[in-house]
Amino acid sequence: MEESSLEPIDYAAAAATFAGELLCHQYVVLSPTFGVPTFYFSVHDSSGTPLTLTEVLQLPLFHRDAFEGAQVTTFSVEQSCASFPLLSFGDHPTLNVQCWYLHPCGTKAAVEEILDATEEGKAGGEQRHLQWLRAWFTLLSSLLVDLRG
């Protein structure tokens, strides 16, 4: 039986190993189960081969401390205290492709915390949706280096 291996993320062995360009598909999709926006992505090298999760985490895609203290396997990034993995693989809700995704179950609480802390966050109606999304992207940018790539 395959065993999960505890690997610290090795930033020294970083993207220099990839000759040529890497293609990163990023999607923001509504999770049908959790009803919140969810970040899905995949990264492929120039031959179309997807990077392994370890390779993905070595890229300057995520902040260095995004997954501090987390356990990395070939298929997930987990924290022992959390009930869901932080990052996992799954079916994209509409595109019939497999992607990595950041687990959305803690999103709602975190976004509401951000909203409660600002004046604009207390808006109602349509403005509320806009502020909600803004707060969501703020949250995402605490994990991702630069969403504009």
Binding site: P32, F34, H44, T49, P50, D91, P93, Q98
Partner: protein, 353 residues
């Protein structure tokens, strides 16, 4: 079931007993599908015994392709490959393809892969699957082996993010269980309330295909159907007394809260032939107090296929666990009795010719 007298103003759910719930759960668990797994002839090593490279298995619907890999490996080593070739077998390069060339989703339960394939076949105009409607009768399906091709090398990496593995499968399974929990209650307390040994135990129940091991844990998270409280006329005592609870007891009210009819939504997904997976809320009880039924759910989401009322018959049929269910089947009952082991009711919609 026939002893419940003539009164028809009770919804059928009043008569769901713990015995019938257990029966249907057992039937769903024991469901199997025939698979014919053939190694790609181009990948058979030079000295292998050709002509024997097909493996037939009646696979449990609730199991997963990666869980069959050890058995496949033993077969290949014993029957097909010589020692030299067997030594270099690398399971991490294995992948599965259907006869039609479609990459198989190894993280889906085998039963879902089979039913999904059946409905794709129903949509092909020159389909070999014979589905006849007759006049007003349910379509009949032929159960033929699902022919899979096992490749031993060169996974199509542009489509396959991750090669099949039992560990990754376990995580996919646990993830689906948690999502189902969330769909039902708006939180995952029941899943997270399980001890680690129980979480591991439920997956072991899948791996070992052991009904009791699986349900020992699953009974803590999967709701069951409870007889509705009907103070005016309790069920007839003759055959129900062994199972019915007294209508006014407090434990029943507590159980009602956690019952299948009290979830906020039944975890259900709709699969279209070669098409998208539709996931939407499926409340157990409608606003008018009547139970949500399969026909209602289908005609809401696929109104052009399931016409519900009127003279025109439906253009499609729903498969759940490989069975065409009666349209009046209640969604809550499905969630309690005929969900997959990962907690989800998978409704595969096939087209009638």
């Amino acid at each position: 079931m026939s002893a419940y007298g003539t009164s028809r103003h009770h919804p059928p759910s009043s008569f769901a007993t713990s015995a019938s719930v257990a029966l249907f759960r057992r039937l769903a668990w024991e469901g199997t599908v025939p698979l014919e797994i053939r190694v790609d002839p181009k990948e058979l090593p030079a000295n292998s015994d050709r002509g024997l490279e097909c493996y037939y298995i009646q696979a449990p619907r609730v199991s997963y392709l990666p869980l069959l890999m050890p058995e496949l490996r033993r077969f290949l080593m014993d029957v097909v490959f010589d020692d030299a070739a067997a030594r270099i077998l690398k399971e991490e390069d294995w992948w599965f393809e259907s006869e039609e060339g479609a990459l198989l989703k190894w993280h889906w339960p085998i039963g879902l892969i089979y039913d999904n394939h059946a409905i794709s076949a129903s949509a092909r105009t020159s389909s070999a699957a014979s589905i006849s409607t007759g006049t007003g009768t349910a379509p009949e399906l032929q159960i033929t082996p699902l022919k899979l091709i096992l490749h031993l090398a060169s996974p199509p990496t542009e489509k396959l993010l991750l090669p099949p593995s039992a560990e990754a499968c376990k995580q996919a399974f646990m993830g689906q269980l948690k999502e189902a929990d969330f769909i039902r209650w708006g939180n995952t307390k029941r899943m997270t309330g399980l001890r680690k040994a129980e979480q591991d135990g439920i997956w072991e129940g899948i791996r070992e295909h052991n009904f009791d091991d699986y349900w020992r844990v699953a009974s803590k998270i999967v709701p069951t159907t409870i007889p509705a409280t009907r103070p005016s006329s309790p069920p007839p005592s003759s055959s129900a007394s062994a199972h019915a609870r007294p209508p006014s007891s407090d434990p029943q009210n507590a159980q009602d809260r956690d019952g299948a009819y009290n979830v906020r939504s039944v975890p259900v997904r709709l699969y279209l032939p070669d098409g998208p997976v539709i996931q939407d809320l499926a409340p157990p009880i409608m606003e008018d107090g009547t139970p949500n039924t399969l026909t209602r759910y289908l005609s809401t989401h696929l109104p052009l296929l399931f016409l519900s009322q009127g003279p025109t018959p439906d253009l499609a049929f729903p498969l759940v666990q490989g069975i065409i269910l009666p349209p009046e089947t209640e969604m809550a009952w499905l969630g309690a009795c005929m969900a997959g082991a990962d907690g989800w009711v998978n409704v595969c919609v096939g087209l009638l010719q």
